[in-house]
Symmetry: C2
Subunit: 516 residues, 2 copies
């Protein structure tokens, strides 16, 4: 394809995307296809000769689009939003046009520096502590694929930090493997053998599975500290401290705590200051705050207090929020901020001969490969730059406030419903509710109610005009099966919310009729 | 931005990209900017009010493009290519238009299924063993960001596999931590404590730093087995076996071997069958073949034998090649194939309540999140689909053959040069050479020659019209500093190669004159 053919094909792609968005509201939310639909529709080998680009593009529309679950649909209220704006799409297009792996500053200085600029812009937008800015030269931010990769990255850095602290305390350990070393690390193998498998990661029973998965990937233990419905499912310092003390008594080494601002189940906000104080009491502990969904709401000053913004600024060693969820930037674009960049670089740096550069050796530049797991990295900052400049701070805030307002109005409707009840206070753009026809206040963990809501969830799962995620709220009071609706979608309107709610009410009524 | 504004802005972006490619040849290869150039040019906070999109786009051109090192430039011959074609860019645009995190089949069935389809297409293109196809239901392929993330992923899977084997052999281990467990894993903590830190990863001194980095990230040992210049820097089975036997005698546990097809330094091909035989002799060993750059050349039947294609098909447990290097697809798009998918899924699977789906529970679909580290994942298959269909097998092969042909002609020129010499046989689209004015055949590790070539490299590094990566060839015979030129770029022509070579010759001559 030459330049003029690209111009033609590019215009056509833009037109097709315009058509897609113009017809999005008419499409189902969830793909209406059966497993294997696409595998069976396409040939099992690539074509021998190149094909006409217009044909390929039309087959994308014919075969691929029907298998898309439309996360950009106004009625998409499942999981969390994964918004893509037109501004972000154009950013991605520019990224693709100068494709390169960005592992070094010299690979493309703009890749590193634009990332530094927009990360400091976001630190400003979210009013983060000065240490989290790149320009502090102490900490700073980096774009990582996802919040789960962020946790794995930070957990590795925290592991190395804890082992360094232990090896300083115990220079004379005698047990274990005495030969060999981990590349580019000064921590002796004997310290690793004594403590390496005794390290423990902590979160709550409502922490996202990213905590347990990081533990699985690192071959370490994961402790999910119980929470209470009376505390709105937020992790408390005392409960964490009890588990940590018991573990220490059993010879384990606590090294990493995940606090959540805006849990997946209910949007709960853990007690950050309480947890932070526990972390200060045990020097091997590193405190990560996962605000994957809710963190972008720090852009709105009036929302900060309930999200424990000041506590995060005071206590978190690292902080993550996903611009690719509620933050108007397409997937993937997860922001990781660390208070001390050396925690990352001392655990991840590796510079073989062929990656050396005069600018790096002069210490003049950041080489972001040493802040992350992989060597190569996408140029993800343009989409962030286009979004932040095109919306401005005020446009970004307005978007966040709109999502909160829609949920607030939905929450009022549920509160006044005779069949449904809110089970937790509204959290930002999310409401958590269940069918409770008797409106029994003490039925928290009733098996009958759980079964009823499980059936409702299953009924809704068979509809393609809505997409609603259920949740199981485990707590000291028992397990409660609920449903959640998030209204943070960029294209979600009050009409969409009303239409989704109508479906929930209808299915609820139908279920109750069926039961009678 | 509404739909019509997007149409306008999208057309304008396509036009700008056309302009960029039309003027690419006139630009320097390497960005001519100083550290901090962009940070100093942009404001330190985002704008309060949204800005005009045309202004933002023109500032992208004004501020960002000068800081881009042009990997798509015909004269870019550094590192490895990181090609982006117009077809791939349009694929990325479609991906951005339906942005979603793809962690489940139901997230968007097309994301999972198109990936399955194109991965089997590539298995066909590269003539991989039937076990590596998804449709084998035994192994299969998945798209991961980069070859380094692939190695980390596979190393984790191999670690869990080795620990399972050890725990089956030793059900009665008594030492170590007896309580607790790693989430979603059956391997007892006492097995992890006994062996977890004794595991060792192997490669050669010419293996890419991805091997050592995986070891660093996992807190494990990395053994770089020496190679010999006489073997063209390829890893031999006997050398590997000697190191492994010594490690076992010292109580260590070999669990993961990286063989390389096409090393970064010289394009060397390790002795895959010899290494594979060693791996078969030690049941805890898992054999990964990293063909990040060279693997795409398996598309050309006549190139397969020298790349030990049949040996990879016979012996590799997993195989990786990057479509985003020489493979015409924009970054990131690394293909990981495994012979047994359970090696991945038994080490990475995690399904909390909110990620359950009826299709997964019925076992009808693949949930790719359980084949990778992160939860969320980009929809990377469209760019691969557009490239494979638009080029066809024959177009893809032609592109690979052209890169080989350009290197072959450059190699002939170097062979006939009085000042320069080839130091290894040409490997695909790469030539490795050095300045050796005396043409002394026994000067392999001469310090003087190394210093001379280091100076040449430094002179070339100060030019922005070429970009050439040096390499340090360590071997049993000593260290040799060399330069490498890769001619695999999609837009690289014979004129470009001649122009680059002319610069190398001029700088070499100037250096020799200076020395006299």
């Amino acid at each position: 394809m030459d330049i003029e053919a690209f111009r033609k094909a590019g215009y056509a792609a833009i037109d097709r995307i315009c058509d897609y968005y113009a017809t999005l509201a008419e499409r189902p939310v969830k793909a209406e296809v059966k497993p294997g639909y696409l595998i069976n529709a396409l040939p099992d080998h690539p074509p021998e000769q190149g094909e006409d680009f217009e044909v390929i593009s039309s087959e994308f529309e014919k075969h691929v689009l029907p298998g898309i679950t439309h996360w950009q649909h106004g009625k998409f209220t499942a999981y969390f939003p994964s918004i893509s704006t037109f501004e972000s799409m154009i950013g991605e297009l520019y990224t693709a046009s100068v494709s390169n792996p960005g592992f070094n500053w010299i690979c493309s200085p703009a890749c590193t520096e634009l990332e530094q600029v927009v990360l400091d812009w976001c630190a400003n937008l979210f009013d983060l502590h000065p240490d989290f800015y790149i320009k502090s030269k102490r900490g700073g931010g980096v774009i990582i694929t996802t919040a789960s990769e962020v946790v794995l990255t930070v957990a590795i850095a925290a592991r190395e930090r804890a082992l360094r602290i232990l090896s300083e305390k115990e220079p004379d350990v005698e047990e274990g493997v005495k030969t060999g070393r981990v590349p580019d690390s000064d921590t002796p193998m004997k310290i690793r053998e004594k403590y390496g498998q005794r390290l423990v990661i902590y979160g709550s029973t409502h922490t996202h599975s990213l905590g347990a998965k990081a533990a699985l990937l690192l071959g370490l233990q994961w402790k999910a500290v119980p929470v209470s419905a009376a505390d709105n499912y937020s992790l408390r310092g005392d409960a964490l401290r009890r588990v940590i003390e018991e573990d220490i008594a059993n010879g384990l080494v606590p090294f990493f705590v995940i606090g959540t601002v805006g849990t997946t189940n209910t949007g709960a906000v853990d007690r950050i200051a309480e947890i932070g104080q526990v972390c200060r009491d045990y020097p091997t502990l590193f405190f990560h705050v996962d605000a994957a969904w809710a963190g972008v709401a720090y852009s709105v000053p009036s929302l900060r207090e309930s999200l424990r913004h000041a506590e995060v600024n005071e206590y978190a060693d690292s902080f993550c929020t996903n611009m690719h969820k509620w933050g108007l930037v397409g997937f993937d674009c997860s922001l990781l901020y660390v208070r001390n960049r050396q925690t990352l670089t001392s655990a991840m740096s590796m510079t073989p001969f062929y990656l050396r550069s005069k600018e790096s050796e002069a210490g003049e530049v950041i080489d972001y490969r040493n802040w992350q797991l992989a060597l190569g990295r996408r140029f993800r900052s343009p989409k962030l730059w286009f979004v932040l400049r095109s919306f401005g701070v005020s446009g970004f805030q307005k978007h966040i406030q709109r999502g909160v307002e829609l949920s607030s109005r939905l929450g009022d409707m549920i509160r006044s419903s005779a069949r449904f009840e809110l089970v937790t206070p509204q959290s930002l753009s999310m409401v958590v509710f269940r069918l409770n026809p008797g409106q029994s206040p003490n039925a928290l963990a009733s098996d009958d109610l759980n079964k009823l809501n499980s059936k409702l969830s299953s009924r809704l799962d068979h509809r393609s005009d809505v997409f609603i995620t259920p949740a199981m709220l485990g707590s000291e009071e028992g397990n409660m099966e609920v449903l959640r609706i998030q209204t943070g979608g960029y294209r979600t309107t009050m009409e969409d919310v009303l239409a989704v709610w109508k479906v929930v009410e209808e299915e609820g009524e139908a279920l109750l009729r069926e039961r009678e």
